[in-house]
């Protein structure tokens, strides 16, 4: 069988073998409910505490500031609801036009349910219009929610700088750092960030576990209402095995952060340069100066993303077009549209996202195999012909 070259780590990642090993005991003998009174449960609650410490450490937070959740989407929803429910008199929300659907769709829902929402625009490279943001910050703003790094382009917003400004106005600041955690060094305690979302399956833990950082002293109202778990911040029996996994994954990510920003980054750059050199009418989307080390988003003009993906799949290369979460829709991605990427290019965009598991051989394989695919698809395209002719 053909080996798979997995370049879709912004969609989801493989569970690290060390992570699987760490969680397995909690799927076997140590199945107790951490809230229970007996010895068997004690070991489980100790494991939860350790995971909380590990997860806090990668952010530069304290363990009590970590609330475990079921995914990045829940963390995002919980943060925004907590902010607005804790500030019931304020009716204004600020976010950007390029957020993940977890923030975007919730903000759109709220905009039809009594809230005024400002969607801050970005420029052609995906950089946030800071003046626009600050101009719209007001007494009435309950929360500013901005992603740390974009899942489609990898472009990073200067959230630490923005958080300082927002904090000065006494407004709650939340960041969706689902793509940034583990790739960007963080010392959250020293920033003005009040809440931060992360998701396990983006850093080699399993799907279905996440966390929300809630700064000590930040007013909070639980999103999932139920039992006393997570210090009354999130009801529901704890997903013990996956929380242990997240803790371990956070520890590993901390250890591998340097490699991510050197070797993985170099592989990404090699891939990007290699493709651009071999394929005409191909362009990188987003600000290459301020970008995650593992991501490149390339538009192949005059052809369509899904076809590229399926042709790549035939030769064992996994990547994505638009964001995986929205690939059920036929629209070009809202991120690229917000950036004003022309339709000819937006439709043919492909995101390659690497991880520490990728090798140079894999990258060279893609650099060799991708250009003929693009060429073949272009031969079928009516638009390509006219470019060639023109």
């Amino acid at each position: 069988m053909m080996k798979t070259v997995y370049l879709d780590n912004n969609a989801t990642t493989a569970v690290a073998p060390e992570v699987l090993e760490a969680m397995l005991p909690y799927l076997k003998d140590h199945y107790g409910n951490p809230s229970s009174m007996y010895g068997m449960a004690r070991r489980v609650s100790t494991a939860l505490n350790q995971a909380r410490t590990q997860t806090a450490r990668i952010l530069g937070a304290s363990p009590e500031e970590i609330v475990f959740t079921s995914c990045g989407t829940e963390s995002d929803n919980a943060a925004i609801w907590a902010a607005i429910r804790s500030n019931p008199l304020k009716r204004h929300i600020i976010t950007s036009r390029v957020e993940h659907s977890a923030v975007k769709n919730l903000c759109e829902y709220l905009s039809h349910n009594g809230y005024q929402v400002t969607f801050v625009p970005v420029d052609g490279k995906g950089r946030l219009d800071l003046d626009y943001l600050y101009d719209h910050l007001s007494e009435d703003t309950a929360v500013v929610s901005l992603m740390w790094a974009n899942n489609e382009t990898g472009v990073m917003f200067p959230v630490e700088e923005i958080a300082r400004e927002v904090k000065n106005k006494g407004v709650v600041f939340h960041t969706d750092a689902v793509q940034a955690v583990g790739k960007v060094p963080m010392d959250i305690g020293r920033t003005g960030i009040d809440m931060l979302s992360l998701s396990g399956h983006k850093l080699h833990a399993p799907k279905g576990v996440g966390a929300l950082y809630v700064r000590k002293g930040t007013k909070f109202t639980p999103f999932l209402v139920g039992g006393h778990q997570e210090q009354n911040r999130r009801g529901g029996t704890e997903n013990v095995a996956s929380i242990v996994a997240l803790g371990k994954a956070a520890e590993l990510a901390g250890n591998l952060m340097a490699e991510e920003n050197t070797r993985v980054k170099a592989l990404r750059d090699r891939l990007e340069t290699g493709i651009l050199a071999a394929v005409p009418h191909a362009d990188v989307n987003g600000d290459t100066d301020r970008r995650l080390p593992n991501t490149t988003n390339i538009s192949f003009e005059f052809i369509e993303g899904e076809s590229i993906l399926l042709m790549m799949d035939e030769i064992g290369i996994c990547a994505s077009s638009g964001s995986a979460c929205t690939s059920g829709s036929l629209e070009p991605s809202h991120v690229l549209r917000a950036m004003g990427v022309p339709y000819t290019a937006a439709h043919g965009s492909v995101r390659f996202s690497l991880s520490v598991y990728n090798t140079r051989q894999e990258i060279d394989y893609v650099i060799e195999k991708l250009p003929p695919i693009i060429e073949r698809l272009r031969q079928m395209s009516p638009f390509w012909k006219s470019v060639q002719a023109g």
């Binding site: 005059f302 052809i303 369509e304 899904e306 076809s307 399926l310 042709m311 035939e314 690939s327 059920g328 036929l330 629209e331 070009p332 339709y343 000819t344 439709h347 031969q379 079928m380 395209s381 009516p382 638009f383 012909k385």
Partner: protein, 152 residues
Amino acid sequence: MWEYSDKVKEHFLNPRNVGVIEDADGVGEVGSISCGDALKLTFKVDENERIVDVKFQTFGCASAIASSSALTEMLKGKTIEEAEKITNDDIANYLGGLPKEKMHCSVMGQEALEKAIACYRGKPLSEKEGEIVCECFGVTDVEIRRALTEHR
């Protein structure tokens, strides 16, 4: 994720009749790049109005490419009169079905064919009944309603 039949995959990976016939008897173009789908269909007929050659170019997803390829295969050897009867359902059936989200990709084939035949007959498509709802395809509300009833 979209579930494609083996036949769709096969036509996508090995599309038949890609290209443009330079001195075509019929030419039909639908869609636009802003829509994310476009198709150009060209054919040649013999003296008995039988289609002897047909080629396509498609900008679109796998099912658009497969639908176009399938359509050209279906068209070869048919008379114009027979060709006229081909619907998008026929195309989808020929391919062993399409995911419901992707049915519109086969509609594009039918539309391009209609246009190409109209072009062959030397008359522009008659003014359509109803209001144009989708600019890219020139789809009218009447057509949408018809499509809906046909698919019940």
